[in-house]
């Protein structure tokens, strides 16, 4: 390689190095339905009494509606991806955490709630 290229390349890399030198990265993204079941004013659901209409009115459309034959399932999911990264050139650390906030509702053929649950994993509401 000709000698005159070396200083130019070094300069380019120095600029890149200065731009991307050691630092921290934090990324956060969410996907899915609003986790209204975590709201402070979230409605209370009662087995045998709450209807499909009440659940849909309170939480909106679910991520998935599943036909189990004699039961219908409303499956709500919000997914959060958090990435924390430390770039120290000599040593780098990246941690990615994906959290799934779920709620599931089972209804009988009359549209009454038979079982429901929310996950222990929680995503704080904005």
């Amino acid at each position: 390689m000709p000698n005159f290229y070396a200083p130019l390349l070094t300069a380019v890399f120095l600029v890149l190095f200065a731009l991307f030198d050691s630092g921290c990265v934090s990324k956060n993204s969410r996907q899915g339905v609003e986790n209204t079941w975590r709201a402070e004013t979230a409605p209370t659901f009662k087995q045998g009494q709450t209807t499909q209409h009440e659940v849909l009115s309170a939480l909106g459309p679910p991520s998935q509606v599943i036909n189990l034959g004699n039961q219908t399932v409303f499956y709500y999911l919000q997914e959060q991806k958090q990435v924390r990264s430390v770039v120290l050139i000599l040593y780098n650390e990246t941690r990615e955490k994906i959290t799934y906030d779920r709620a599931i509702f089972f209804f009988d053929q009359q549209g009454h709630l038979t079982d429901f649950a929310t996950s222990d994993e929680k995503i704080p509401r904005n």
């Binding site: 991520s63 034959g69 004699n70 994993e121």
Partner: protein, 212 residues
Amino acid sequence: MRKFPAIEQNFVLLGLLLLTGCSHLTSELGCRLPAKPANLIVGQSTLGDVLKGAGPPTRISAAAGGFTMLYEYNGIEENQIGFSFEAPVLRFIKFVGARARLEHQAWVLTFNTNGTLQAWGEEHWRNRLGAGAGAQILVTVSSLVDSSQIRRPAPQHDWGKLCLAPLPKMLNVGQSLDTGSQGLEQTLSPTAVGQRALEMTPEQPKIMKKKK
């Protein structure tokens, strides 16, 4: 204490001087599953008992004579060792070798139409996921082991879009394992077997250049 010969010491020092860009990358998908609740008994426990103890499943699907639920956790840990050389241009590039391990936990539970627990299976293992090597710009930190299949978004997000999938995937949506009506699969299942084979993952459309 054993003394290293001079030549070994030199190699260690040289290694330490060249060592740069070492990285530790971790991904956790969900929470670790707890120990199997002792009060859940096959043939006696109900859907309500399971939901109370374990919460909503990762996936749920209809099955012959009832339904089935899958709980899953995956954790990836990747370690990278990088070297760079004191030479023009090369000093800004690191040569990296990477190894990744996967911790996997899964429960599969089946219920009859009355919601009584019929079967329970679980697995928990930690194994090598893969390895990779590459040359990167010094400040780059990215995974060198392909774990895209594990880290893909949950299928529930795409439930409504299944009928818009390209052919032949759309034609086989009736047999899809993502709809919740035809069974389910673990995240790690390969796509070239079983019902997925019908989908024959189509080629990515080529971007057409505009004619002037």
